[in-house]
Symmetry: C2
Subunit: 245 residues, 2 copies
DNA sequence: CGCCAGATTGAGGACGCTCAATTCTGGTGG
DNA sequence: CCACCAGAATTGAGCGTCCTCAATCTGGCG
């Protein structure tokens, strides 16, 4: 992690370019973005609830998540972010944060000024639409989580979450079957709408079925096809292969 | 409904302008959009799954919804659309439909060509960002649904759904406490992740508490404050009052 | 008048929750 | 080097919400 800014921008650029028809000039605009590197400790806020944000936040290392909360303190994780995710891109158009973002493990982030993003988005309309598209893709992940948490049982829910993170991890160059998770069992419960106790029992079940092992903050997938079937996982919603027409 | 196109564009413009700093010139661009009016019968597809869309779809009358589905046929509603909602705006940047959109009741829609939207978005960057913002606002609704379905019990879930639709209905000029719902109890179950049987029992419970009555495809709110408290409903996520800085 | 989708009610069962205790782990300080 | 500690993981027992299956009722429509 010699240069977090360059590393993170490169990952993000790869994802933007995957889904859009962009030019080398666009690439130069993105890789030339300014940004301030910052270390965030585990369980600390990256974006506070109600804050009016002026810079978007790009993950360079670690794991972060967006949180919602009910009145009686139940936390619900509404998105997970890994390196290369511009986790706050929508704040460019809606700067008032309606939910907090926290680091799940020790995390390195890069703060990119909104104005710089607006400027290059206006300079290149195709790039502007690529930003828009990035937000839409994130929204489709939230939609998939909605289906997952509303309609599947605990085993499928957790399997689905692990499949999604596996595929996204693979996209940034990690082995799909063995990668850092950056989440505790409590976090998995916060994401899937389950209690930590039930997460624990369900992970044991998945392990006993020979599908996946989840030691603390880590994932070892033993049977990808089995896990995928159990989760009914279809990566189409991640849009890693659908470019602009 | 003399002129569905003009009526629907006007509603949509109002929402765009509410959240953004737009000019009279932007207004002329939006209200001048072309569109083909179409009638869709109840339970028919407006957008088919897997279709590659070339026109976005604006609701002029009726109620529509986006659907997901699990392998064993459980349906999950991931968004509800009422008049003035550009339900397919994200298809401008991701034209491959990963989920179907259906009419819940008899619905009038307006098809607006993507190219026309791209053109006016490039002509006015502020307008382009307003489109982006509209998608982000929809995403935040999906996020709220995720919290709702993952963390609240049946009574709060249904109350929350009704509160949201009440506030959105009010925005388009309907009385907040008495409006058409366009959904059956089965649809409410599809939205909240509950079975129709349990929806029915829960609606009876809400009625017996004197909070709300839900005769077929209609809502009569008897005690707004009580319903809002029951739902833990806070309309901030709808962003009806947060403009661009 | 018959038909059908939707609404309604009953009875029993299952999945996930609550409460509680114990073990494991990594980090800290003596 | 070891004792200690906090947070996380693990396991057990009992319970409640919501589901399943099934039957009946209602209203709109051909």
């Amino acid at each position: 992690m010699a240069a977090p800014l360059a590393y993170a921008l490169d990952l993000w650029w790869n994802r933007l370019a995957l889904r859009s028809q962009l030019t080398p000039a666009d690439r130069a605009l993105v890789l030339g973005l300014p940004g301030e590197v910052q270390q965030i400790a585990s369980n600390r806020d990256i974006v506070r609830l109600g804050e009016c944000v002026t810079r978007a936040c790009l993950i360079a290392d670690g794991t972060a998540a967006r949180f919602g909360q009910t009145r009686d303190g139940l936390r619900q994780l509404t998105a997970v972010y890994i390196p290369g995710d511009m986790c706050d891109l929508h704040s460019v158009v809606l700067p008032l944060a309606t939910s907090a973002i926290q680091a799940l493990s020790a995390t390195t982030v890069v703060r990119v000024p909104h104005q710089a993003l607006k400027d290059i988005g206006e300079a290149s309309p195709a790039l502007g639409r690529a930003f828009w598209r990035d937000c839409v893709a994130d929204a489709q992940i939230a939609t998939e989580w909605l289906i997952n948490n509303s309609r599947r049982d605990a085993r499928s829910r957790i399997a689905h979450l692990l499949c999604e993170i596996a595929v996204r991890s693979e996209r940034i160059g990690r082995p799909r079957d063995h990668f850092p998770l950056g989440m505790t069992q409590i976090h998995i419960g916060d994401a899937t709408g389950l209690t930590p106790v039930h997460v624990n029992r369900t992970l044991r079940d998945l392990r006993e079925r020979g599908l996946v092992e989840v030691p603390p903050r880590e994932v070892r997938i033993l049977d990808w096809n089995g896990l995928r079937d159990c989760a009914e996982f279809d990566p189409a919603y991640l849009h890693f292969h659908s470019a602009e027409p």
